[in-house]
Symmetry: C2
Subunit: 665 residues, 2 copies
């Protein structure tokens, strides 16, 4: 019965997504110029995704083969299902999002409420597809294995499925992140700073690449990323539940997930109705989230009463939710309140150098309280429900992902709608309306990031505990030289990974800068708007940079779990345990640092652009642009990928560990 | 007998230091203007140190009282001895160094060889005092306790002594670091960039503060820092040796230390003779180091033969030494070869933002290989001699600290000599000679940093293992919720600490910038050299900034070991274990990242100043100055302090842990 609720909820989510998509496609796309620009962006995004998939699926095929030969062909199948579902989430979510953007622009020529409705509808398609496919894939892997593949453990099946999800997410995040940030930096440094033309100006040769990047990086990348998080948190809860407490907990977990999805759908509908009724945008968005979360908690509570220890589980879930909220508030504080003003002030006093220093310091300081809260929730959740409780707390943070991801995905749609308005030379009033929606997206995104970070830490920790259980180690002693060696190397991997990602963005952006400069220099009449720029070369530069550079960082996650066993034999299990723990610790803090430092630089720039400390064109503004540019690859390429990196390392170790320890004995 | 060697070596080191000091003081100080400037710097440095000591010794008194009341009055006494010896190392080393600088300038009016002789003599005084006081203090604490205080464990005595060393070092590094970098940034941003006057120009109001800063930060701070490292590595080796293998290992360790000191003295004398003979400066310096290291290894080998398992110990020591060398080479590569040119190139292509990004990426990437090597040496040393082997490897890296610290301390003396030449308007040829010596110092410093980082990691790890032993925990399980919570919080502490240090520099530098701008604006004739600047106000700003901001970051180290026990009771021992492990891992990598990113920015700027990518005054140069300014507080304030932070946290936990676990049971 309980499994029914989660499968129904998955189907309802997908059906809702289809209905909403159809209703979006019926909306007006605006004038010919708008259609042409939107088409260029859609085609560019599609072209890149197809190229990305070609490279990626080559590696998927190799890894599927490795799984088939070493673990089981069935496990390999579930891995592939994970990759395909993840790809579908990103692909469909983005396809609808790109089509929503232009329609949002058109709607913004009328009312803000109508624009909000379309933009949020577009975001909700992403949210619903991610949770729908996420739960259906997990459930299918689990049930098929239980019923038809007795020789395979269902835990192995969902682990393989989860690896597929993480695998694609890592490539998509890194590749999309390199693409979008190289284009962004190139467009900003030459267009805004050197040529002095506004953002999204059609004279900027990198403008199409920049807008394509927003779609492939911020939307498709984010979709794959959150799909990964969602699947990861379900996987961790199921594995630890079954391991520690037995088979029956799986239906508890799936039902909680199902109720969370249903609550999210009701929340989404509430927000849509509110925006139709022209409620203020912020309130309309908040309304849906509040409805979904309260509803979910009530249902979880009632449902928990049915289970022995159910209330303890419920307490763990709620503690996760509360800590997720608190981390969200802390993130919001550090990236919007006093710290932003301080960074802006340091831009006006000491220029670029002090801007960088103060943003760095904010980023570093901002990581303390979230880690403290994570530490606290670990102890609380453990007290209530042991290791299973830690996984439940992570799941609690993501239980209403359907609605929060809708809000997250809505942001880039509003952002792109503004870009299309600019490029189509629509009246300023249109851009002003989309700007309001965009700004709102940034605030709510901070909240979403809090949940993403908190759940990533708890999920990775739960998966790590599963590794220790699966390897039958009982405990993992830090002062074993193998463990501590693994920890040192593990600690360095997120740094190495980030270095590769940053260099990739920095180099590709360098090529972009040179190309944009060349076009301004060589295409006569371009700056006067009398000649068209060559958009395609810029798109090609971003594409090439992304494809060439996304593989190496991703390989860190895929190869590192094997090294310890190959070099150290059976002691590899201690080493790999240390490796995972080290990567977890340094990965979580680096991700928080990068996300918040990047956001505070971004927002300090916006604060100055609002007219503070001399406003646009002032020395302070120039300094703040440097800060923003430095922050871009941190917050949108390296930072969000690290969460995936640590989980992928852990699930791969979890799947292969028992095999490797036998093989290299 | 063996203890005799180490006590004699300590005394010989101190006597040598006194003889060399006297010979330096006999040298010519140059003309009246030089004397006046040197006097101003000496007085400024002395004034700051006295202020710093006032604030610091207040905290020393409080902590001494806590030790006396909770542990033992005798332990408190050894703690105070540690603080006093550390203060003396920094104070005397600096006093001689400031007097050496002006004499080096005067000697540079004649030959490079003579200038090298004086500068290196000055550095060697620091080197000899540090190792001399280091070993004498440790030995005294150990022997006095064994002979006269039967109720106190000698291990507790040397731990308390070690805490004293770290305590003062942390304050000195943070306080001196804030002072020097605020003055440096202030002098550079306004003087060099805005007013366009050269470095060390007497018209710059912050120039005296800048030169005072070089002394109190780079020299006194470094002296206290390395004293701390040296004492820490001895302490860790003694504790683990005695714990794991019994009483007799203490004489092995002290004798190794003694032979290392005697080898260093012979190495120093070799370098001094070589520079007297006008050997090329690089060769003269290398000669001494090579002599000392080869000699030490031969003596260690022969001595090891006497001991059962001695060759295993010897292998651990040698593996530490080799890894220290390798880390040094890696550091040198990342901060002087291809990476520097790449950062310089990105300065010319994309300006400040890409300069920052590429330097960050270099710093992150550069942390991977050192951590890999540390992981390898842990396994090797452990295979040879267990946990004691890890401590021996750390000791091996620092065994010839006497000579390597002499080289380290020589750098700032040469740097200051150049400053005095500039401020005294001496002919350009003088500055050119000191510049040669200064550049040389930077190269050798990279090598020294490799040893400092490697030994800090191993020493902290050995002390951490001692904590686990002392608490009678046997092992520390990562997946205990208390341990993992501690690890999360521990991981965040070096980030929090760095944030506080960076903000302190950034704010104080901001005040300095405003003051220097004010003086250029308000003192008419200043820029034309017709009016004197108000140096004192700038000195006061740095002093105030340092004193006000050095306490809070230092308190992190002092308070954090207590929190776990207070909140969690007896489970605090797991929590604190995790806390120490987390801080160790994130601290080591952050220290490497900061040191190398800072150095690569610094050197990229110098590379451009040599005429590449447009040379001084070009766009690329301006971008590289931003990079250098960002790197300053990372490499000279936060970075080097983190090594002390993690060791101080660990030794405090080691001393108080057994007491706290009883108290809060």
């Amino acid at each position: 019965m309980e499994l029914l609720i989660s499968s129904i909820s998955g189907v309802v989510a997908l059906v809702s997504a289809i209905i909403i998509s159809i209703s979006i496609l019926k909306k007006d796309q605006g004038n010919e110029r708008m259609k042409k620009i939107a088409k260029a962006i859609q085609d560019g995004a599609l072209a890149f995704l197809l190229e990305e998939y070609k490279t990626m699926y080559l590696w998927v095929a190799v890894f599927a083969l490795i799984i088939a030969l070493s673990i089981s062909p069935y496990a390999s199948l579930f891995f592939v299902i994970g990759t395909v579902f993840s790809t579908l989430s990103g692909f469909f979510g983005m396809t609808v999002a790109t089509r929503s953007s232009v329609r949002t622009t058109q709607a913004a020529t009328k009312t803000t409420g109508e624009a909000l409705f379309i933009a949020f509808s577009g975001g909700s398609v992403m949210g619903l597809i991610v949770v729908g496919l996420g739960v259906i894939g997990s459930l299918l892997s689990y049930l098929i294995t239980v019923k038809f593949i007795p020789q395979l453990s269902p835990l192995v099946a969902i682990t393989a499925y989860s690896i597929g999800a993480s695998f694609v997410a890592l490539f998509a995040r890194v590749g999309g992140g390199i693409y979008t940030k190289a284009a962004d930096v190139g467009a900003d440094l030459v267009g805004k700073v050197e040529a002095g033309i506004p953002e999204d100006d059609p004279r900027n040769p990198a403008v199409i690449a920049d807008n394509v990047g927003d779609n492939v990086g911020d939307i498709a990348g984010m979709g794959a990323d959150l799909y990964e998080s969602y699947v990861g948190s379900i996987t961790a809860a199921i594995i630890l539940g079954v391991f520690v407490l037995g088979e029956s907990t799986s239906s508890f977990v799936y039902t909680i997930v199902g109720f969370g999805i249903l609550s999210s759908i009701i929340g989404i509908i509430s927000s849509l109705i509110a925006s139709k009724m022209n409620v203020a945008p912020q309130k309309a968005l908040n309304f849906g989230s509040i409805v979904a979360n309260i509803l979910a908690m009530v249902v979880f509570f009632v449902f928990s009463l049915k289970y022995q220890n159910g209330l303890n589980y419920f307490a763990a879930i709620v503690s996760g939710l509360i800590v997720g909220l608190l981390i969200g508030f802390i993130t919001q504080y550090y990236t919007s309140e006093k710290p932003v003003k301080e960074v802006a002030k340091s831009a006006s006093v000491g220029g670029a150098a002090t801007t960088i220093l103060s943003g760095m310091a904010v980023g570093m300081e901002s990581s303390f309280l979230p880690l403290l809260l994570i530490a606290i929730v670990i102890i609380i959740a453990y007290k209530f429900s042991g290791l299973f409780g830690i996984a439940l707390a992570g799941l609690g943070m993501l239980s209403t992902l359907g609605v929060s991801l809708s809000v997250d995905a809505y942001g880039p749609i509003a952002d792109n709608a503004g870009g299309i308005a600019e490029m189509s030379n629509l009246p300023h009033t249109v851009r002003e309306k989309t700007d309001v929606l965009d700004a709102l997206g940034n605030t709510t995104a901070a909240m979403g990031k809090g949940f993403a970070i908190g759940s990533a830490a708890l999920t990775a920790l739960a998966l790590f505990s599963s590794y220790i259980q699966t390897m039958k180690m009982g405990s993992l002693d830090i002062i074993s030289p193998y463990t501590i060696s693994g920890m040192f190397i593990g600690t360095s991997l997120p740094f190495l990974f980030s270095a590769l990602a940053i260099v990739a963005v920095s180099r590709t952006a360098g090529n972009m800068v040179e190309e944009v400069r060349r076009q301004f220099r060589e295409i006569s009449g371009l700056i006067l708007g009398k000649a068209d720029p060559d958009y395609k070369t810029c798109v090609a530069i971003s594409t090439k940079g992304a494809l060439r550079n996304m593989v190496l960082p991703s390989l860190i996650a895929i190869v590192s779990p094997f090294v310890g066993f190959i070099v150290l034999g059976a002691m590899g299990k201690d080493f790999t345990g240390g490796l995972l723990a080290g990567a977890l610790l340094s990965g979580v803090i680096l991700a928080i640092y990068m996300a918040n430092a990047g956001a505070v630089w971004d927002n300090a720039k916006k604060y100055i652009e609002q007219g503070n400390y001399g406003g646009k064109g002032s020395e302070a503004h120039r300094a703040s642009v440097v800060g923003d540019t430095v922050g871009d690859p941190l917050k949108d390429t390296a930072g969000p990928s690290i969460n995936i990196l640590i989980k992928l390392m852990t699930t791969i170790s979890l799947l292969f560990g028992p095999y490797l320890v036998k093989f290299f004995k």
